[in-house]
Subunit: 147 residues, 2 copies
Amino acid sequence: MSDTKLNNLSKDLYNLMLNLHRKIFNHDEMMKNLPIPPSHVKVILYLKHNGDSSISEIAKNLLISKPNMTPIIDKLVSENMVNRYNDPNDRRILRIELTSKAHEFIKKQEEMIKNTLSEKISVLSSEDLEYLGHHVTGVIDILGKIK
Amino acid sequence: MSDTKLNNLSKDLYNLMLNLHRKIFNHDEMMKNLPIPPSHVKVILYLKHNGDSSISEIAKNLLISKPNMTPIIDKLVSENMVNRYNDPNDRRILRIELTSKAHEFIKKQEEMIKNTLSEKISVLSSEDLEYLGHHVTGVIDILGKIK
DNA sequence: TATTGTTATACTCTATAACTATA
DNA sequence: TATAGTTATAGAGTATAACAATA
């Protein structure tokens, strides 16, 4: 693959991110509408996607410094969104798991986000929606091959 | 267009956002690598996209509270990234414009982001890159019809 | 000696109310 | 009276270094 082709594609991907952000998925707007701070959302979504994890794992992957994990997990525990439990193999490690309340929270928020998306694209013609679906699943399929 | 179709498409769009974020464009990671805080980046990019703007306009559209704009603009001025000037028609209004240094900064950052994107997709086969380009421009074209 | 998680602390970012100057 | 921008201030989020417990 030629370098210019790769460069053009990365330019298109950058434009795709900007367009998605501006037209249908404003990250900041979503976060402001949530009842809990962004760092809590990140931790919950991380656990949902990666399963039970140690505090260090979460911190490393979410780029949150370890000391700041303590108050975040404290609050999530007090809100009954996660539980701490000891790792049976290494007594230094605390593992974090989602509660059923957290799973319900995620489900509800995803519904809200999907409703917002539906609204934004509902102005498109039936034909455009057809094409959009085709191209979106096309991109997802290929991204699935990375990593 | 049937509601179920719209729902499926919004689900796909949600998955597209998640996949883009996880596979090739980690928002937090990008921000951490920048030499200036996120709020400054947002203001600069807003001005790049929307042209000279009043402080209230910027605050409203970026969901930053007005009082917090003062120190942000102060710092950007001291870093020689923006200038303040009076609106000729309304003496209450201060308008903000980007300096040439800011334009260069944006150009450099966009280059870095595109290089990162190139690296991430360079593992794909020539054929997959071809398809990816096709679908990405397809999505961009249709998004262009919104708003 | 290295790693896990915590404490302490200072710094930045943010939200709210109250102020001034212009309209 | 309403709006633009500011000041003051308290709260939330973050980064860094130093520490105790465990490996």
